[in-house]
């Protein structure tokens, strides 16, 4: 397998094969911790961290593991990085840790289904693997933040509230209030809103994709039909 180029990896992770919007993986955190930007960002960063490091680690050890224990070994690698970040967050961002709750340890399952370790890292050398992990994490994190932002705006007409949880006291100034007498639209912050906002974001992506495809189709010739037909009986002399 020839390793894909970095630009291809980037496009894949951020858009074409976005883990959250296209592969529909990691949905739990996507919905659970996106009530506000700060929560989303917190989990997004943590995921990115774990994904990158575990991809590196997996790529490093890929020659030593046999098929039978491949999955458990990788899961253990991911789990250990997750456990580390959990400990670090407890130590240095405790309030955020409390808010994100079990979704921090759940990065384990989340990342293992992101499947990058299995699908990519164990077949590629360290650098592409690291980059892939980073981009996939970034793609996931960006969607988290986007949805967090949308929900925050619809729910309470604010943006970047409580950023101090992640970036220290100075960040509490970052809060943007969009409307002062907004009555609040709680459904956006409550579970139903999470699903519906994600649904609309996916639909939005579909619209953009359709537009892009139409443009691409306009200047692309049709594939030759049956070009790669196999000879069923070709091997007979």
């Amino acid at each position: 397998m020839s390793s894909p180029s970095y630009s291809e990896l980037t496009l894949n992770g951020l858009w074409k094969n976005n883990p959250a919007l296209v592969q529909l993986l990691g949905l739990c955190p996507l919905l659970a911790v996106t009530g506000s930007v700060v929560n989303a960002l917190g989990l997004g960063l943590a995921t990115m961290f774990v994904l990158t490091l575990s991809n590196i680690a997996v790529s490093l050890v890929r020659h030593f593991v046999s098929d039978a224990i491949r999955l458990p070994a990788f899961v253990m690698i991911i789990a250990s990085f997750t456990a580390c970040i959990e400990l670090l967050m407890r130590a240095y961002a405790f309030e955020l840790y409390q808010i994100l709750g079990i979704f921090i340890p759940l990065i384990v399952t989340n990342c293992s289904i992101l499947g990058r370790a299995d699908a990519f890292a164990c077949k590629n050398s360290v650098l592409p693997a690291a980059y892939d992990g980073f981009i996939m994490g970034l793609g996931f994190g960006l969607v988290l933040v986007l949805i967090g932002g949308l929900r925050e705006i619809i729910g309470s007409a604010t943006l970047f509230d409580n950023m101090q949880l992640l970036f220290g006291e100075d960040a509490s100034q970052w809060k943007i209030v969009l409307s002062d007498d907004y009555p609040g639209f709680l459904a956006a912050i409550l579970p139903p809103g999470a699903f519906i906002v994600v649904g609309f974001v996916i639909a939005g992506k579909n619209v953009i994709d359709a537009a892009l495809k139409r443009r691409a189709d306009a200047n692309k010739e049709k594939p030759v039909r049956g070009a790669n037909r196999a000879r069923v009986t070709g091997h007979i002399s």
Partner: protein, 571 residues
């Protein structure tokens, strides 16, 4: 008589519109100049023509035969000359052509009857069935199922059901038959019971035909046969469906995949019974039928007894067709009939009605709206199906679901479409889906067969291939034997063999990582065998390359042993 009747499941009450066509008595259609008689008027294999082009035929003469009871005999409807035997447009929902015999009428209408069997009560069942078969009597209530085939059932039959329901709006051909030929009809019942060995007849008539009921009751009273029960049933569509009428009259349901004969019941349409009666008592084959001509586009709606093969246009003319008013021509009633666009199509034995409505009378279907799952269709369905679900599955092409929702129990009565507030052509979906499923079943069978043949072929080719390799291997083996014999130092061979075995044992453990050493050993082995084969063949051919080959083999053997040694040390 106080026969109990049962309630029909579902059903609808469309406006009857029967009065228009019962104002006149049954008229006789003129003999047309040319008749087109299709060979596929019945359900079953098409009949086989036995006349030749140019041959003169008489009215009632057999012109096509059938081998078994599943087929039907066909007779000339009038005397004349056979003009052609060819594919002609057929009076069928498809409008597809069918093999037909075209007869040019000579205007004499000269009869050739079969011998009458007035002593039928003394005749045995088989003789009577044969006569019904040879007279070409088929079900005239709709489906066109050969009467002889139905009557020849080997199940014990206790009840004959006469279907005089005629539940479709507009149609009055059975009604007029019952009114005008009541006595013949009562006698036909007796004949049918005799053929079937049935002990009673239930004669079901809808209560919207008082004249017919009166006539039949009078004839019945006159004849005084207490085995025949005239049962007046409430008017509801589709009470005339065979399963439905049996439900109304007996309270029993014909099992889904079975026939009424499983309940000991056989049902015949009244016109069929009369046709069979006339075939036996007068020797007249089935060459004509009573057809209702009705609809507001006709000036003189009426019933006409028409010869099979008469073009529709002739009948329409006779009933005062106002072409400019006609919106469509429906063969059958407004609920189950099909439209035709060609007025030259022939009347067949099953053409019970030609309905020519104006646009105002039966407006064209408005565009379908979405199904709102209101369930009105399910309320109407006489088969207790869920038409709306069938519709959804049909749209989605979910064949499994359609079958598990019993699509094949749908009798295509159209009650659901009739009541659907969203104007969805439900029945058409079902017809299409049924056809698709049948096609899929056929395809699956075909695919299964193709797969078998493909696999058989592959297996054969592989066998051939194997035989070839086996032969090659045998040759190699023989050569190797010779090589061994030539190689006196057996000690060289043994470690190789051992190594090969060891490596092979290693390879079989699938979980074992393919280390380089093992690869190496395998490679060496291959090269060694190749070299040995070459050596052997060189030997047998007496080639002069023997010495270098022998050296190569020795070297490889040594390498292999070394590699083996290394691999053994490693883990």
């Amino acid at each position: 008589m106080s026969d109990i009747i049962f309630k029909l499941t579902g059903g609808v009450h469309p406006p009857q519109n029967k009065h228009q066509s019962i104002q006149r008595p049954i008229a006789q259609a003129d003999v047309p100049a040319q008749l087109v008689i299709p060979m596929s008027q019945h359900i079953g294999p098409p009949s086989t023509p036995i006349v030749t082009v140019g041959q003169r035929v008489l009215k009632g003469q057999c012109i096509a035969t059938a081998e078994s009871f599943e087929g039907a005999f066909v007779h000339a409807s009038t005397s004349g000359k056979v003009l052609a035997i060819e594919e002609r447009p057929h009076n069928h929902a498809s409008g597809m052509p069918a093999l037909s015999i075209v007869i040019e009428s000579d205007g004499n209408d000269e009869w050739q009857r079969m011998p009458a069997m007035e002593n039928w009560p003394q005749c045995d069942r088989q003789t009577l069935l044969q006569r019904i078969h040879e007279a070409g009597v088929i079900g005239m209530g709709g489906a066109g199922f050969p009467a002889a085939s139905k009557l020849a059932t080997d199940k014990p039959i206790h009840t004959l059901v006469m279907n005089g329901a005629e539940c479709e709006p507009y149609i009055t051909s059975d009604q007029m038959l019952m009114t005008e030929r009541a006595e013949e009809l009562i006698l036909s019942c007796e004949l049918m019971m005799h053929v079937l060995g049935a002990s009673k007849t239930l004669f079901g008539i809808e209560d919207n035909k008082p004249e017919a009921i009166e006539a039949i009751k009078a004839a019945h009273a006159k004849r005084g046969n207490d085995k025949i029960h005239i049962v007046v049933i409430p008017t509801v569509y589709p009470s005339g469906g065979s399963k439905q009428l049996i439900q109304i009259l007996t309270g029993n349901e014909v099992p889904s995949s079975g026939h009424s004969s499983d309940l000991g019941i056989i049902m015949q349409n009244v016109a069929t019974a009369v046709a069979a009666y006339r075939a036996i008592v007068f020797g007249e084959p089935s060459i004509s039928r009573i057809t209702t001509l009705t609809g507001e586009a006709l000036a003189a709606p009426q019933n006409i007894e028409a010869l099979v093969g008469t073009p529709l246009s002739a009948l329409l003319e006779q009933a005062g067709w106002q072409q400019n008013l006609a919106d469509r021509i429906i063969i059958g009633g407004p609920m189950m009939g099909y439209t035709v666009t060609d007025t030259q199509l022939p009347v067949t034995k099953t053409t019970n009605c030609i309905l020519v409505p104006t646009r105002a009378e039966l407006p064209p279907p408005p565009p379908a709206q979405a199904c709102i799952r209101c369930g009105l269709c399910a309320e109407a369905c006489p088969a207790s199906l869920l038409p709306q679900q069938l519709y959804w599955f049909s749209r989605a092409g979910e064949h499994d679901k359609l079958e598990s929702h019993n699509l094949f129990d749908c009798i295509e009565c159209g009650a659901c479409s009739y009541s659907c507030p969203s104007n969805i052509p439900l029945v058409q979906y079902y017809r299409a889906s049924k056809a698709e499923i049948r096609q899929a079943r056929r395809d699956a069978k075909q695919a299964e067969q193709s797969k078998r043949r493909f696999e058989a072929r592959q297996a054969r080719l592989q066998r051939l291939e194997e035989e070839k390799t086996a032969q090659r291997a045998a040759r190699a083996e023989a050569a190797k034997k010779r090589l061994e014999e030539a190689n006196t130092s057996a000690s060289v061979v043994d470690p190789i063999q051992a190594a090969i075995e060891r490596a092979a044992a290693k390879r079989t453990s699938a979980a074992a990582p393919a280390t380089e050493a093992v690869d190496m050993i395998a490679k060496l082995e291959k090269r060694l065998t190749a070299a040995k084969i070459k050596l052997a063949s060189a030997e047998s051919a007496g080639s002069d390359k023997l010495v270098p080959l022998q050296e190569a083999v020795d070297k490889l053997t040594q390498q292999l042993a070394e590699a083996q040694q290394q691999a053994g040390d490693k883990p």
